[in-house]
Symmetry: C2
Subunit: 353 residues, 2 copies
Amino acid sequence: MVELKNDRFLRALLKQPVDTTPVWIMRQAGRYLPEYRATRAKAGSFMDLCKNADLASEVTLQPLERFDLDAAILFSDILTIPDAMGLGLYFAEGEGPRFKKVITNRRDVEAIGVPDPEEELGYVMNAVRAIRRDLNGSVPLIGFSGSPWTLATYMVEGGSSKDFGKVKGMMYDDPIAMHLLLDKLAESVTSYLNAQIAAGAQAVMIFDTWGGLLTPQAYKEFSLNYMQRIISNLQREADGREVPVTLFTKGGGPWLETMAETGCTALGLDWTINIADAKARVGEQVALQGNMDPCVLYGSADTIREQVSKIIADFDGNSGHVFNLGHGIHQHINPDNVKVLVDAVHEFGRKSD
Amino acid sequence: MVELKNDRFLRALLKQPVDTTPVWIMRQAGRYLPEYRATRAKAGSFMDLCKNADLASEVTLQPLERFDLDAAILFSDILTIPDAMGLGLYFAEGEGPRFKKVITNRRDVEAIGVPDPEEELGYVMNAVRAIRRDLNGSVPLIGFSGSPWTLATYMVEGGSSKDFGKVKGMMYDDPIAMHLLLDKLAESVTSYLNAQIAAGAQAVMIFDTWGGLLTPQAYKEFSLNYMQRIISNLQREADGREVPVTLFTKGGGPWLETMAETGCTALGLDWTINIADAKARVGEQVALQGNMDPCVLYGSADTIREQVSKIIADFDGNSGHVFNLGHGIHQHINPDNVKVLVDAVHEFGRKSD
C-alpha cells in the first residue's frame, strides 16, 4: 500500500486539522479540457471510454496534471447501474444520456435484477484499480453513484426530462411500483459503492441530481430514505482509514437538516444557499462541500478570486470545508480560469489552528 | 362597470373573509384542453393567437366553462416585451420560445428601447379589454409579466437553456451591462403592467421563472431588486378596488422573507416547500398562492383529493390562501383530473369565521 501524500481532502471531510482548504471540481475530467477531448476521440463512444480502464485512468488524471487539485474522482457515468440492469445506455450527440429500454409499469420493474458489481460492472472496478495504481498515492480517489431516485428518473423518462412527468406520474399513480424500483436500486447502489471501496475508492459521493424536484414529503419518502439505507450499509473503512460519504441533492438546500441525519460525513451544496447559513444549520454534524456557482468561471480572474474568497470567509471555519463548484463545470469554460480558482482556494483557504 | 359576481380570489389575496378557498391554475388555458388545441389550430401560430383579441379571449374563457375556477388569466406569453423590443419572438415546433436576435454584449443592450405598451404591445391591451367584456363580471382577470431577470435570460440565451451559461456569464463578466438591461426591462414591465391594469386587469402577477437559479446574493441584486422597483411603481387601485400583486420566483422558497418585503400582496409558491412552513415564515405579511406538485394530476382522483386536502390543512387558515399548482399544468394531463382538483379545493376549502 502506497502512503497518501496529500490527504487534505479526507482530513477536511472528517474535520481533522488541515494546512489549507482542499478543492476538487465536479466533472473536473471533462470536455472543457482539450486533452480530454483528444482521449475521448481516441476511445470511441463515451461508454467505450468508461469501459477502458487505462483510458478512464488517463482522463481521471488529466486535470491533476494541470491544476493543484486535492482529489481525483473516478471517471464514469451515474447511469452505469441501469445500463447493467439491461436498459442499454447510449449517448445521442448533443442530447445527453438515453436508454434503449425504459421502465413504464410495475411489470417492467419486477423484471429487472440487481447487478453484481464485479460481474456486470467489473469495468468500473477495473477503472478504480487502474486509477489507484496511476495516482500512486498523490491524492485520494473518490468513487460515486447516482442516488436511487435519480437513477429511477432516467430509467422511467428514458433520458433527461423537462418536467419529469413520467417518473413523477408513476410515483403518484403507482407508489408501490416506484418503491419496488427504488428498493432494487438502493440494493444495487449499496453493493456498487462497496465494490468501489473494496477496489480502492477512498471516499464516496452519492449524486442525487433530481431529488430537488420533489415535494418535501416525497423527497423524504422516495429519495432520502433510500440514500439513508445505502449509507447505513456502506463499508466505512479502507486502508485503515475512515471512508467519508458525501451526500449531494441538487436543490436540497431546504432539507439539509434531515440530510445531515442520514449518517453521511458531508453534504454537497449547490450555489443557491449561502454556505454560512448551511453551516449554521448543520455544521456541527457534517462537513460541507461547495458551493461556487459554476458560471462564476465565465467571469474575470478578479471576479473568480473575489467569489472564492467570499465563500471561504462565509464558511469561516478551520476545517470541515471542501471547496467545489455547486454543480459540474460547464464544457465551455476556459481551463485557465480553473487554475485561478484552484490556486485562489489554497491561497485564501484556512489553516487549522 | 359590471359588478364582480365572484370575488373570492381577490378577497383571499387581501385576507378578507371568504366562503371557501379560491382556486385557479397556472396555464389553465392551454394545450391539455382539446378546445384550446382547436382554437390554436384555427389561429395559426401561437403569437397569432396572442395577437387576435377575440381568439385570445376565447381561449382565456375555455377553462372557466369546464371548471369552477375563481379567476381568469390573460392569455399571452411572458416574452411579449422582448418581442416588442425588436428581438423577434417565435416558437419552433417542440423547442419552446426562440428569438431571432439575441443580446450578446453591452452595445446590444444600449441599442434596445423601452416599448410603449399601448403602441407596440397594444394587442395585449386589446386582449385584456376583450376578455373583461366577455367575462362580464363572472370572475376577476389576472394580468401578468415575466420578471426582468427572467426576460433577460431568454434575451441573452436566445431561448430556453440548460445551464444559463450565457446570461449568467454576462452577469459575472459584465455586471454593468446586465444592470443596464435589467433597468430597461424593469421600466418596460412597470408600464406594461400599469397598462394592463388600466385596460382592465384586476390583479397582476410577476413570473420570475428563473430567479431560482441564482445565488442568494445575485438573486437579490439581479432579480428581486428590480421586481421590488416594479411593485413600488404599480397602479394599485382599479374599479375602486385594490389591485393585488403576486410575486412568484420558482425555486424561491429559501428567500420568502425578503420577497415578502417587496410590498407585494402575495407570494406564489412552487411545490418544493411545505405551505405550513411558508406560512410560519411570512404568513403575517402576505397571502400565499400554491402549491400542489403539477404531477399529482397524473395520479388517481383519490390521490388528487388527498393532496388537495393536505395542502389546505397545512395552510390552516381562514383566508390568505389561493390554491394553485406550484407551476404550470402539463400538456398531457387529463382535464377530468383538473375538475377533481378544482371541486376538491372548494369542498375542503376554509370558510372564514
